[in-house]
Symmetry: C2
Subunit: 133 residues, 2 copies
């Protein structure tokens, strides 16, 4: 049933920091793994689902609260939730009749770190030519 993907994302540099995206060329394997996560985020329905789950006070949402928020069939919502789960972004738990989803902050934290360039990066920085200041 395919281990969670973020375990692989955990392969850090020698420094024990974040897998470099903006500071060193990504190798093929990590690119493949990372792409799966970003692909999971690359759909408006899944983004809204993730947002609804993450922003919920208590950290949990029942599927029964998610489904009616969309003009989509229940199987479709279930499918999107499955993809988010396989990407390691959320997890689910059944309690009685209902199933609750919650955010796995480790993954979003890791993505944020990956997209953050180290301070004082010697890039050309923002304004090469005609950017309206």
């Amino acid at each position: 049933m395919s281990k969670q993907e973020f375990v692989v994302l955990g392969q850090d540099d020698a420094e024990g920091c974040c897998p470099a995206l903006l500071t060193a060329p990504l190798d093929e394997g990590r690119a493949e793994t990372l792409a799966k996560v970003f692909k999971a985020l690359g759909d408006p329905v899944r983004l809204r689902l993730l947002s609804m789950i993450a922003s919920r006070a208590g950290g949990e949402v029942c599927v029964c609260d998610l489904t009616p928020a969309f003009d989509l069939s229940q199987p479709t919502i279930s499918h999107h939730l499955k993809l988010l789960k396989q990407a390691g972004l959320i997890d689910s738990e059944r309690r009685g009749t209902w199933v609750y989803y919650r955010l796995l902050p480790q993954m979003t934290d890791r993505l944020a770190a990956i997209l953050t360039r180290p301070a004082g990066q010697p890039l050309t920085e923002t304004a090469p030519a005609g950017a309206a200041s």
Copy 2:
């Protein structure tokens, strides 16, 4: 030629901060816009391209340096670069015979901010039940 997408991403909250993803439900319009950017990142080839461009000292890479790094045809690489550009992640400039690509750090910065939860967020935090403390 479709304006850069990140302009829309710039629609901030009243507080003038980042478009909330983890703290408030994303509306349909922003979800659509954000999804396009994440979709651009949702391919291993494009991730590697972005990584190669971003990590290059000088901040620029010639296409002629990118193409031979892949087992893909030149039109395919050109296609992926186009998608990254349309997503507002990179920009290009022609100098003589060659075309140079460079990172647009505003976009990755914004994504990082979007994926970062505000400090002290009242989430259940990582260990709701049986996680090894």
